[in-house]
């Protein structure tokens, strides 16, 4: 029997997630915000075409919570000074990083599943009651898998950002700035470049929307590859720094 296997480390990371309130608090916050927004959109909009109705259920509202979850997954170890104990228990640092990326990808997908199913249920009910355009099951299922995929990728990305920056607050502020300032600004001034943004524009490509212009977003395969590329680069940088860092 060698070092802790990947499944062992994954189980440990998932157990960590289940044994604090962080994950549950983020699910609750994402759920509350998403439900409020969906309810307001449905009630305050006269009607929707099919595409607009579909877009009510896309992942924007929970994406930031998933990123924060991923960031806390690794930057939180530095914040709470548990990184030493974690590495003593799992000294193969690269394997530990992979386990965290996988665990928080899965956790992100679970968060998204809970939120998406809830807003689909509430939103569809409201649309029906308000006699507005509803979304069929196949379209809902289509939105759901895209949301889950984006969530898994963002959860993984969050871990890498958290591991690279190590300061939880700085990492969260950085992703907020990229999401709300950098990528939208870039979409206005350099739309062809902006498509490759990892937090907003590439995920929009996976969903199939471009809220910033009439241009087509990246097609979904390209968008997934772009996000995997960003994760790959950040993972490599994080792995390098994590392996070489002296924990004093």
């Amino acid at each position: 029997m060698g070092h802790a296997g990947m499944s062992t480390l994954l189980r440990a990371e998932l157990l960590k997630l289940r044994t604090t309130r962080t994950f549950f608090a983020l699910v609750a916050a994402a759920l509350l915000l998403s439900l409020v927004i969906v309810v307001l959109i449905v009630l305050l909009t006269d009607n929707f075409d099919k595409q607009e109705a579909r877009e009510i259920f896309t992942s924007d509202f929970s994406a930031l919570f998933i990123l924060v979850l991923g960031i806390m997954g690794l930057a939180g170890e530095w914040r709470h000074r548990t990184i030493t104990g974690t590495i003593l228990a799992a000294p193969e640092r690269l394997r530990l990083l992979v386990a965290k990326v996988l665990a928080y990808g899965a956790a992100g997908a679970l968060l998204s599943l809970i939120v998406t199913v809830a807003i689909m249920a509430v939103g569809s009910l409201l649309l029906s009651i308000e006699d507005k355009t509803t979304v069929g099951i196949s379209d809902l299922a289509d939105v759901l898998w895209r949301n889950l995929l984006i969530a898994a990728l963002l959860g993984a990305l969050g871990v890498c950002v958290g591991g690279l920056v190590r300061n939880q607050v700085v990492a969260i502020v950085a992703v907020l700035i990229v999401s709300f300032v950098v990528e939208p600004t870039l979409a206005g001034v350099a739309p062809e470049v902006a498509k490759y943004g990892p937090l907003l524009n590439a995920p929009n490509g996976i969903i199939g929307i471009n809220p910033f212009s009439e241009d087509e977003p990246l097609d979904e395969v390209a968008a997934v590859l772009v996000m995997l590329g960003w994760i790959g680069v950040l993972f490599a940088l994080t792995a390098q720094t994590l392996r070489r860092r002296d924990l004093v």
Binding site: M1, G2, H3, A4, T8, L9, R11, A12, L15, K16, T19, T20, R21, T22, G76, H80, R81, T82, T84, G85, I87, L88, A89, A90, P91, E92, R244, D246, L247, V248
Partner: protein, 304 residues
């Protein structure tokens, strides 16, 4: 192969040499005290041993293997480091459960170690509600989880009350009695002196003394003699002329490595009347200060 072997360990942080050419071993069934002033390099040495810090040169191994090479490291080494920390929102029991999963230890072991450290009743409380002593007990439980053959304890009595300190002393001796190798780093010299078999003293990253407690307390030469005399200066000169080393403590001399009989004969030859003559081992504090004087952290000022 020694359970713990430090061989020519050197660690530089930029231009600062924290540890230089440090070599020592610790043996199974014995408690070794690892001592040094603040900034001596103790923490760096322990972290290099545990794979948390990469040595610039040399090696630090367990049975010839680096920490990262150990299979199920928790079954080989248990460590309590000075900055042991826990997620504030996670209970003590869940902290140990996570470690048990990571280290592939049976979950039943969690309850065992909680019982050993006396935390069973508080195990389901989040760690943020733990006192310093309880956090220290949880750290010790974490170190014992894998039933390791080597225990590394950095300031293990931090936050423990006197009964807790006595408990720690019994635990440490008990673990060594069962054949484990125990390495304790502590500032509480009086406490260390009661617990250890061997001592390693470092200062400015270099080895200053190593050996059994008796040998280190007696100095390189072995046991020493305390003597008081009316003409202490004349006696001191005679000792110097005979090539003996001594330390002055007020009106007394501690003659290093010389038996009382020899000191008595020398005094008689010089016709120096003695008031007191007895063998004496130095306190660990005295030995520590003598070995690390001018080598450690900036000197303390004179108390007001």
């Amino acid at each position: 192969m020694a359970p713990v072997e430090i061989q020519d360990l050197t660690k530089r942080f930029g231009s600062v040499e924290a540890v230089k050419d440090l070599s020592f071993e610790i043996e199974p069934g014995r408690v070794t005290g690892f001592l040094g002033p603040n900034g001596a390099g103790k923490s760096t040495t322990l972290r290099a041993l545990l794979g948390l810090v990469r040595p610039t040169a040399g090696s630090a191994t367990f049975d010839g293997r680096h920490y990262e090479q150990l299979e199920r490291p928790g079954t080989h080494v248990g460590a309590v480091l000075e900055d042991a920390a826990f997620h504030p929102g996670r209970s003590g029991r869940n902290h140990l459960r996570v470690l048990a999963v990571t280290g592939d230890h049976p979950q039943s072991r969690v309850e065992e170690v909680l019982g050993i450290v006396g935390l069973t009743d508080a195990a389901d409380r989040p760690a943020k509600g733990y006192s310093m002593g309880m956090r220290q007990r949880l750290a010790i439980a974490s170190a014992l989880l894998g039933d390791p053959q080597v225990l590394i304890l950095d300031e293990p009595t931090n936050g423990l009350d006197p009964p807790g300190i006595a408990w720690m002393r019994d635990l440490v001796r008990g673990q060594a009695g069962e054949g484990r190798a125990v390495l304790i780093s502590s500032h509480l010299l009086a406490e260390v002196a009661q617990s250890v078999d061997d001592v390693v003293i470092i200062a400015k990253g270099r080895l200053r003394a190593q050996g059994t407690l008796e040998r280190v307390l007696g100095g390189d030469e072995g046991a020493s003699t305390e003597v008081r005399a009316g003409e202490i200066e004349r006696l001191a000169q005679a000792l110097e002329a005979a090539g003996h080393r001594y330390e002055r403590a007020g009106e007394a001399l501690l003659v290093l490595g010389v038996a009382p009989e020899q000191v008595g004969e020398l005094a008689a030859a010089q016709r120096v009347a003695l008031r007191y003559l007895a063998p004496r081992a130095r306190s660990l504090e005295a030995a520590f200060l003598a070995l690390t004087a001018d080598e450690g952290a900036p000197a303390w000022g004179t108390p007001a």
